[in-house]
Amino acid sequence: MKTFVLLSIGIPIIGSFANLLIKRRQNIISTVLIFAGFVTSCLLISPILTGTTGYFHRYFIEFFSTAFIADGLSVFMAVTASFIGGLIAIYSAGYMKDYEHLKEYYFYITLFVGSMLGLIFSANLLLMFIFWEITALCSWRLIGFYRDEKGLLAADRAFILTFLGSGLMLAGFAIVYSQYNTLNILSLSGKEIPTFAMILILCGMLAKSAQLPFHLWLPDAGVAPSPVTAFLHAAVLVKIGVYAFARLFIFTFPMTETFQDIVMILSVATILVAGASAFVENDIKRILAYSTISQIGYIFLGFATDVAVGITGAIFFILVHGLGKAGLFLSAGIVEHNTHEKDIRKLGGLSKTMPITSVAFVLCALSIIGFPPFGGFFSKLYVIMSVVQKGKILLASLAVLGAVLTLLYLFRLYNAVFLGTARGTDAERNTELTRNNYMEKTKGMVVIVLVLGLLSLLTGLFPQVFLSFIELIK
C-alpha cells in the first residue's frame, strides 16, 4: 500500500515538473499523469475492501513527520478527485488549444492534482497544511491564467481569502499542538479540543470550500478558463475543505454540541443565501459558482449532524456533486467557447444547435437538484434525514427549501441558455458565422460532458455500489 500511496502522490507532482521540460504534447502527458494518480488510487480500493488500513510515517523533527494514511475516506476522495480531474484534463485539450502559456497551464493542473492527493493521504496536520498551501498557489495562478486585470484581481482575492482562512486554521493547529504535543492525526484521534480551536480550524475549511462568510472569491474566480473553474469547483479546490472537515471533525476530534449547531446554522445560511444569489445573477459561471457554494453547504450540513446517515449522504454528495458540477461547468464552457457570451440574457435556443450538450446539462442539473434516479436524490435525502434525526425540523425544512431553490435557478439557467429563441434578428442568426459558432465543434469536449451526465445517472441507478463502499469507510 505504501508504494501505491507514494506513487499516486509522486507521479503527478514529479511528473508536473518533468512536464515543464518537455516541448510538445503536454496535454497528453498531463492527462496520463493524472490518470496514473487515478489508477494507483484505484489499486488501493481492494485492500480497503478487505478491511486493511494503510498507515506509515517517517519522522524528520519532533512535530513534523511525513505520515500518510490510506483508509476508506482518503481512498474514496483520491479516486473521486483524480478521476474527475482526469476527465477535465481531457476536456482541456479541446478548450485550451488556442491559448498561450499552455505549458504553465498543464504544469499547474498536474501539480494541483498531485498536491490534492498528497493532502488527502497526509496524516499530519502540518503536512496537510503544506499541501493545502501548494493548492492555494496553484489556484492563484490558474484563476489569473489570462493575465488580464480582472483575472489577476480575482486570483488575488481568492488567494487572500483562502489564506486568511488557512492562517486562522494554522492558529487552531497551534492550539492543538500546545495541548497534546503532537500533530499526528492518529495519535490525536478521540482527543477533545476546545470549541474555540475548532472554530479557528473551521475558518480554514470554510474559506477553502467558499462557505459563508468567506465565499466571495468563488463567484469572481469564474473569470478563469472554464476547465479551470470546473476543476476548482468539482474536482479539487472546494472539496479540500469538506474533506478536511470529515478527516478532522468526524474521524479525529469529537465535535462539541455548540460547534455542531454553529456549523449547521452556517451551512443552512450558506445554502439559502448562495441559492438566492444564484437565482438573481445573470452570468452563467457566477450562477454555477453560487450553486457550488450552496451545494457544498449540504455536505457540511450532513457532516455536522455527526449521524451515520448524514455522513454517508455527505460523502456520497462529494462524488455526486463533483460529477454533476463538472458536467454543468463544462457544458457552460462549451457554450462560452463557441458563442463567446456568458450573459444568459443574451443567449437562448441553443438546444437546437447543441443537442448533446443540452441533454448532458439537464442530466447534471437534475442530479444536482436532487431528482431521482440521480445520485443527488439519495445524497440530499440522506442529509435531510440526518438533520431530521437530530430533531432540527426547522433547519431540515430550510434545507428542503434550498433544494427547491436549486430547482428554480438551475432550470432558469437552462431555459435561458438552451430553450426559447436565440437572441438577435433572424438575419443575424442565420449568418454562416453565427451558425457555425453555435455548433458543438470539438467532439472530445462534448463526449466528456455526456460521460459526466451519464455517470450522474449511474450513481443514482446503482447507489448501492457506492453507498456500500461508503458504509465501509466509517
Binding site: R157, L161, L212, P213, H215, L216, L272, V273, A274, G275, A276, S277, F279, V280, E281, V309, T312, S351, K352, P355, I356, L366, I369, G370, F371, P372, P373, F377, F378, L381, Y382, I384, M385, V388, Q389, I393, A396, S397, V400, A403, V404, L405, L407, L408, F411, N415, L419, G420, P463, Q464, L467, S468, E471
Partner: protein
C-alpha cells in the same frame, strides 16, 4: 423475476430502447425535421403492444390478489419492496388501460418526435406503476418524482413555447414533491421505518406537519387548487394526448391514491375535526372556483382542463369527509373522473384533428360529420354533470352521502360548513352541466360554422376538402370505449366498480344500500339548476339580438346564438366581471405570487447578505491600502522623522522598563 417487476420495468426498458434508437439521429433531426412514416409506424406499434402486454399483466396482478416482493437495496431500511393489493393493483390496471388507449389514439397522428413521445409515454407508465406498487416510501417517492420529470418532458413535446409551461409544472410539482419528501422523512423519524404499512398515527403537533406536507404533495399531483395553475396553461401548449394521459388520468390516480392512503392508512383523522374541515374546504373551493372559470372559457381544451381541476375538488371533498362512504365515493369519483376527462380530452383531440381548432367560436354543427365523437362527448358530459344513470351520478351521490353523514344530528353551528359544502358541490355540478351544454351546443349542434363547413360540406364544385366522415377508428374507438365505461360504471355501479375496485381497497367494509334520500334530491336539484342557468343564459342572449333590417349582413344572425355567449350574463354581472377579468389576467395565479415573492426574497438575500459582505471586503481592502500608504509615507527617507521615531521608541522603552529598575 417476480411478476410485479414486469409492469414497472418492461415499459421503461422498451421506452429506453425506443429513445436510444430514435435519438441516434438527434443532431440531424433537429435541423432537418423529416418524418419517417415507416419508423413512426413501427415505434407506435411496438408501444401499443407493450402497453397491451402491461395491461394483461395488470389484469393478472389484479386477479391474483395480494402479492409481495422485497429485496434489500440500500441501508437504513430502504428496501426495494413492492406490494400489490386491491387498491394498488386496480390503479395499475387502470393506468395501463389508459396508456393503451393513448397509444392507440396516437397512432394516426403525425409527429416530428415520435420516438421521444412514445418512449416517454411508456417510461411514464412504468414509473407510475412503480409508484402504485411500491411498498417502501423511498421507492415510492423515487418513482413519484420521476413521474414529475416525465411530466416535464411530456409537456415539452408540444408547440414552441411549451417549455415555459413545462417549467412551470416542474416548479410546482417539484416544490410539492420536496414537501412530500420532507413529510416522509418526518414520518420516518416518528415511526423509525420506511415501509408503507398501516400506521394510523394520531395527528399531534409533530405529525401534523408530516400530514400537511404529504397532503400538499398529493394535492399538487391531483391538480387541486392552489397547485392547479399549470393545467390550463398546459392545455394550450401540450399535445392533447398528453393532457388526456397525465393530468386527466394518471396524475389524478396517483394523487388521489396517495391522499386516500394518507387519510386511511398513515394517519387517523377522526378526532381532529378541524383538519377534515380544512381538507373539505380546499376541495369545495377547488370545485367552485374551477367551475366558474370553466363557465367562461371559449376553448374546449381549456374548459375541460378546468373541469378536470374541479373534479379533483370533489375527490378531496369526498376523502375529506373521513367516513367510509365518503372515501369510497372519492375513490369512485377518481376512477370516474379519469374516465370522463380523458374521454373529453380525446374527443376534443378528434375535433381538432378534423377541423384544426378547438375554439368554440369557430366550431359548430359537427354532429352530422362526427356522430360517434358526438355521442361519446355527450355521454361523458352527462356523466361529469351527474346525470343518472351514468357513473357521475353514483359517485357524486356517495360523496354527498358522506357529507350528510358528517352532519350532526341536532342543529348546531358545526353543521353550517357542511351544509355550505353540500350547496357548493350541488352548484358545482349545476354549473358543470351548464358549461357542457354550451360545449355540446357550440361544437356539435347548431349551424356549421365557416371553419367546420369547409370540412364537412362540399364546396361549389361539389368536392369535399376532406371526407365528411368520422375521424379514423383509432381516434374514435378509445373515446367510445371510455364513454361505454362511463355507462357501465353507472348502470352497474354496485356490481362492477364498487364491488371489484373501490370496496376491496378500503380497510373498513361498508355495505351500500340504495336509498332515495337527501343526496339524490341534491343531485336532481343540481341538474335542474343547471338547465335553468342554461335557459336563462340563452334567453338573454336571444333577447339582445336586434331586429333584422334590410341591408345588414345576414351572417350575424346565423352566428348570433353562439355557445360562448351563453353565460355572458353571468360573467358581465357586477361582482363577477372584475373577478373574471383578474382571473383571466392570472392575478389569482398562486404560482405567480409564489414565484414573485421567491424572486423578491432572493433579491433581498443577495443584496443584504452577499453584496454586503462584498462591500465589507472592499472596505477592508481600501482601509488596508490607506493604512499602508500612511505607514510607507512615514518612511520617506527623511532623517529627522527616523530620529523622532527613535526618540519615541526610547521613551516608551524607558517608561516600560524604568519603574522596575527604580
Amino acid at each position: 423475476m417476480n411478476i410485479l417487476l414486469y409492469p414497472i420495468f418492461l415499459p421503461i426498458v422498451i421506452g429506453l430502447i425506443i429513445l436510444l434508437i430514435g435519438s441516434r439521429n438527434l443532431q440531424v433531426a433537429s435541423f432537418n425535421r423529416r418524418i419517417n412514416p415507416a419508423a413512426t409506424k413501427t415505434i407506435s406499434l411496438l408501444s401499443l403492444i407493450t402497453a397491451l402486454i402491461v395491461l394483461v399483466l395488470g389484469f393478472a396482478i389484479f386477479s391474483a390478489g395480494e402479492l409481495n416482493y422485497s429485496v434489500p437495496w440500500i441501508s437504513y431500511g430502504i428496501d426495494f419492496s413492492l406490494r400489490a393489493y386491491a387498491f394498488s393493483s386496480f390503479c395499475v390496471l387502470f393506468a395501463s388501460f389508459f396508456a393503451f388507449l393513448i397509444c392507440l389514439y396516437s397512432m394516426k397522428a403525425e409527429r416530428h418526435s415520435a420516438a421521444t413521445y412514445y418512449s416517454f409515454i411508456l417510461i411514464n407508465l412504468g414509473v407510475v406503476n412503480g409508484a402504485f406498487l411500491s411498498n417502501n416510501f423511498i421507492i415510492f417517492i423515487l418513482f413519484w418524482e420521476l413521474a414529475a420529470v416525465m411530466l416535464y418532458l411530456l409537456i415539452r413535446i408540444g408547440n414552441g413555447n411549451s417549455y415555459e409551461t413545462a417549467t412551470k409544472a416542474l416548479y410546482i410539482i417539484g416544490f410539492s414533491d420536496f414537501c412530500l419528501l420532507l413529510g416522509i422523512v418526518l414520518l420516518w423519524n416518528i415511526t423509525g421505518r420506511f415501509d408503507i404499512i398501516h400506521y394510523s398515527l394520531p395527528v399531534t403537533r409533530y405529525s401534523l406537519l408530516a400530514f400537511i406536507l404529504m397532503t400538499i404533495g398529493a394535492m399538487a399531483k391531483a391538480g387541486a387548487m392552489p397547485f392547479h395553475t399549470w393545467i390550463p396553461d398546459a392545455s394550450k401548449d401540450a399535445s392533447i394526448e398528453v393532457m388526456a394521459y397525465l393530468p386527466a388520468s394518471l396524475d389524478k390516480l396517483l394523487g388521489i391514491y396517495l391522499l386516500a392512503r394518507i387519510c386511511t392508512d398513515f394517519f387517523t383523522l377522526s378526532l381532529s375535526h378541524s383538519l377534515t374541515l380544512l381538507l373539505c374546504s380546499f376541495g369545495a373551493f377547488t370545485i367552485i372556483a374551477a367551475v366558474f372559470m370553466a363557465l367562461i372559457q371559449t376553448n374546449m381544451k381549456k374548459l375541460i382542463a378546468y373541469m378536470n381541476i374541479s373534479g379533483a375538488g370533489y375527490m378531496i371533498l369526498g376523502i375529506g369527509t373521513n367516513n367510509s362512504i365518503g372515501i369510497a365515493g372519492g375513490l369512485f369519483y377518481m376512477l370516474s373522473t379519469a374516465l370522463w376527462t380523458s374521454c373529453l380530452f380525446l374527443c376534443a383531440g378528434s375535433v381538432e384533428h378534423k377541423t384544426g381548432t378547438t375554439d368554440l367560436d369557430k366550431l359548430g354543427g359537427l354532429s352530422k360529420a362526427m356522430p360517434l365523437t358526438f355521442v361519446a362527448t355527450f355521454i361523458a358530459a352527462l356523466s361529469i354533470s351527474g346525470v343518472p344513470p351514468f357513473n357521475g351520478f353514483f359517485s357524486k351521490w356517495m360523496i354527498y352521502q358522506g357529507l350528510i353523514q358528517q352532519l350532526p344530528t341536532s342543529a348546531s353551528p358545526q353543521a353550517l360548513p357542511i351544509i355550505l359544502f353540500l350547496v357548493i358541490a350541488m352548484f358545482g355540478s349545476a354549473l358543470t352541466l351548464a358549461s357542457f351544454i354550451k360545449v355540446i351546443h357550440s361544437v356539435f349542434l347548431g349551424q356549421s360554422s365557416k371553419v367546420v363547413a369547409q370540412f364537412i360540406e362540399p364546396d361549389k364544385s361539389g368536392n369535399y376538402k376532406s371526407k365528411p366522415t368520422e375521424v379514423p377508428w383509432t381516434l374514435w374507438f378509445p373515446t367510445v370505449i371510455l364513454a361505454c365505461l362511463c355507462v357501465i360504471f353507472g348502470v352497474f355501479a354496485y356490481q362492477v366498480p364498487l364491488k371489484y375496485f373501490v370496496f376491496p381497497s378500503l380497510p373498513s367494509t361498508f355495505i351500500g344500500v340504495w336509498q332515495p334520500s337527501l343526496a339524490t334530491l341534491l343531485i336532481i336539484a343540481g341538474i335542474i339548476i343547471g338547465v335553468i342557468i342554461y335557459f336563462l343564459g340563452t334567453i338573454k342572449t336571444i333577447r339582445k339580438a336586434e331586429t333584422y333590417i334590410y341591408g345588414e349582413d345576414p351572417e350575424i344572425f346565423q352566428q348570433n346564438v353562439r355557445g360562448t355567449e351563453f353565460y355572458l350574463t353571468i360573467s358581465d354581472a357586477k361582482p363577477f366581471s372584475s373577478i373574471y377579468k383578474k382571473a383571466e389576467a392570472q392575478v389569482f395565479d398562486f404560482y405567480n405570487w409564489a414565484f414573485g415573492s421567491a424572486k423578491a426574497i432572493a433579491n433581498t438575500f443577495f443584496i443584504c447578505i452577499d453584496r454586503m459582505l462584498e462591500n465589507i471586503y472592499i472596505g477592508i481592502d481600501h482601509l488596508t491600502k490607506i493604512v499602508s500608504t500612511f505607514i510607507s509615507e512615514l518612511q520617506g527617507g527623511l532623517l529627522q522623522i527616523y530620529l523622532y521615531w527613535s526618540l519615541l521608541g526610547l521613551l516608551i522603552l524607558l517608561l516600560l522598563l524604568g519603574p522596575k529598575r527604580l
